[in-house]
Subunit: 513 residues, 2 copies
Amino acid sequence: MNGAESLVHTLLKSGVDTCFSNPGTSEMHFVAALDRVPGMRCVLGLFEGVVTGAADGYARMSGKPAATLLHCGPGLANGLANLHNARRAQTPIVNIVGDQATYHRPNDAPLTADTEGWARGASAWVRTASSSATVGADAAVAVQAARTHPGQIATLILPSDTSWDEGGAIADPVPVPPKPQSDPAQIRNAAEILRRGQPTLIVLGGEAVHAGALENAHRIAAATGARLIAQGANARISRGRGRVPVDRIPYVVDVAVKALAGTRHVILCGLRKPVTFFAYPGSKPTTPIPADADIHVLARTDQDAAAALAQLADELSAPRVAVPDPGPRPEPQRGPLTPDSVAATLSALMPEEAVITDEAVTFGRGFFPFTYTAPPHDWLNSTGGAIGCGPPLATGAAVGAPGRRVIALQADGSAMYTLQALWTQARERLDVTTVLLSNRKYQILLGELANVGANPGRTALDMLDLGNPDLDWTKLANGMGVEAARADSCEGFADLFVQANSRKGPFLIELMI
Amino acid sequence: MNGAESLVHTLLKSGVDTCFSNPGTSEMHFVAALDRVPGMRCVLGLFEGVVTGAADGYARMSGKPAATLLHCGPGLANGLANLHNARRAQTPIVNIVGDQATYHRPNDAPLTADTEGWARGASAWVRTASSSATVGADAAVAVQAARTHPGQIATLILPSDTSWDEGGAIADPVPVPPKPQSDPAQIRNAAEILRRGQPTLIVLGGEAVHAGALENAHRIAAATGARLIAQGANARISRGRGRVPVDRIPYVVDVAVKALAGTRHVILCGLRKPVTFFAYPGSKPTTPIPADADIHVLARTDQDAAAALAQLADELSAPRVAVPDPGPRPEPQRGPLTPDSVAATLSALMPEEAVITDEAVTFGRGFFPFTYTAPPHDWLNSTGGAIGCGPPLATGAAVGAPGRRVIALQADGSAMYTLQALWTQARERLDVTTVLLSNRKYQILLGELANVGANPGRTALDMLDLGNPDLDWTKLANGMGVEAARADSCEGFADLFVQANSRKGPFLIELMI
């Protein structure tokens, strides 16, 4: 058995049975091993950012890590942006990155690069395999690292001779440490704060926004009068009818500050202290939390946030309470495509148990309030701000949640970074409906330009303009084997949306907003 | 004057007047400064790999660095693969990379990443600006670093407050050190080796493959009987009728070994010792140079290779000799699209002073011999092996060589990594003819799979197959505003090629090979 075979066997034995891949020469033995060792589902991406973003979406839905297979150096580099997003989402991923043979590395061949150096900025765990005899054991530890709560990125670099040499040994899974629990003092402290009855905000992140944890958060809020809010970007939040409704901390600083004003105590559960995405000139704060608010930590990001909420609810003897009725579901809208009309139509027609991937950026910021009445669904945000997470995230989510419809809310500028994901959706016949919000500009940057107080002229506006020429998303989708159509009204959108969601395989709706 | 304005002024004063950009929020003040300070040509790319690859192509043709404008962390990461290629090409580039404000960095906002860490693997020079007062001076040193022979990548990281704060000061250009010359002992040693009359190969890289240097190399070869060969991948090699014909060291190891067999002495001029792209199992060597050959260095990569050839020719009193007639130019071919028929047709119809960007991979490996008889042209290779250099390289070359037709020889799998470059070609109305070699598979990897001795099965073949669904490159090009058409015969190719080259602006020919 060669090293590559021992690696594939070990991954499977450790429960990693899906591999998003974009291989190169140095990975050929791993590819060959995938033939000889049955059981690994391989999904090809035509760009590494597709591969890493899909691994993120897969794990967010399946709850377990996928492997990626990436080419040495620059191949990994192409995947870093979406690994950054995955790192911020606390997504478990096991990257397998090929590299030059151990003895060829010192020759600094043209494709040689500092693979470890590039991996480190996006990984919690990095190791370079040193021989075929130990690569199986390396892989088992990589999976352990990835699965360690709350989920981490592990990168195993695989010099090609550690892959092709004989002497590979399959390793047993390495036990994953249990989730660290909040200290009882953290629970008691939060309870004490809440009992004071002062304006208190419980900010929820990580697993604290999954359905069961939200119910306990709701008990606490109902018993104490505390407000609940989710962090700005969530890896996966349970939403829709029957789920506890929570808003997110708004992206725009002034709006966020207003939303949190008057808060006396902030209790963090499963996240770090919220800060703004960017700093701005002048006196704008870098956190939306009022300067005079006290911050308390119920559960750190590495602690079991869901368990902490359950314990806190019990500590407070908070009774179970029904989730409030969110009111009637909106009707599909007619007329112009506005953020509100699109959101209402989406909510009206979204299928049961949909998975929403959200890289809708400016146009989609207000979609949340409209969808409380939709059927139960999961909502996946871009978590790290790296552009181009949407199409791959949708692709991976569809692989990780078979039988559920994925609805990709997607800004056009962002989609251009990873449009190759559409091809993978077509090849794998994934049930993804992409709602492509085509405004033909970097709208967010026009807002940011105003935020920094700049008065844009021709050159600046040109840098933020995606027109001249306009992108034609139906052609781009068709060119990659995905059927597509345009809508320029809400009724047109509604028709296409219903059709798209009732078919097998992907479809792209270009909304001319 | 704020920091951003001082930066733009300083870049212009240092001779950097073209900026390939894909800005984000943290770069808004730089964008605004581009409005207020006239003179900088800004070219927008819709993905950072387009931006960095275009900067590479631009400098290869114009001989001077462009600036890039990249978004913090993951934005830079998306550009690393083509920076890797540029680094291997010894291309001067000045990257301007935005980042969080100095005082917001410690807050570790979602988009915060190890920008310096990622920059280092692709840059010879990295600095983070610390204040608006010094960012002008930082920029002047960055340009100096980029222009230092043989050309380097300099990355200046720009925390947003160093951009928006007042107090910016324009800096004068910093003198660039002269090109280091070869030591007279290097020249004399090479002459002595050549006078022995033993089988000697002069391997040329860097500026040694530019037209004037090649003429001196030809003098030396004619006077001594030495053979000339270029390194495998060249940033820019002067070719065509009237230029000294030199082949390249072949990519395939066995072919390269055969090509260099029998060599007693190897004289390196403007490159390091050639090594194979990859190692392979078994006894395949990692250099094509015979084990018993002696290696001599006429000019290191940091030395003036062109001057060394001139001095060596004089040292040998080698007379000027005419460039041999390469024979008649081929006729345009008819019938099936084969590597030879496409190459002959290309040579027959290539316009004067064309610029060839070559990411043709397997199909294009044999194009060189057919094009010695074509009109004078420059040929730009992928130098670092990072996939996806072609479309951006063509884009930047067209910006850097106005009035000359760029012909992008482009494999389909590779084109998918950076297809967004087509949009920039359309927007800037660049004279680029893309010859898209559509074989719908990773042909190079099928070869590599055979090379490593693996016998591919269904899973492996699926990982190397770009069919199912087939990519439609005419639709992809049209979707980005580039006109396109298909050819499935040589006569069809010839017709489209002539039409494409005679029009203004870009055109894509999808060759169904």
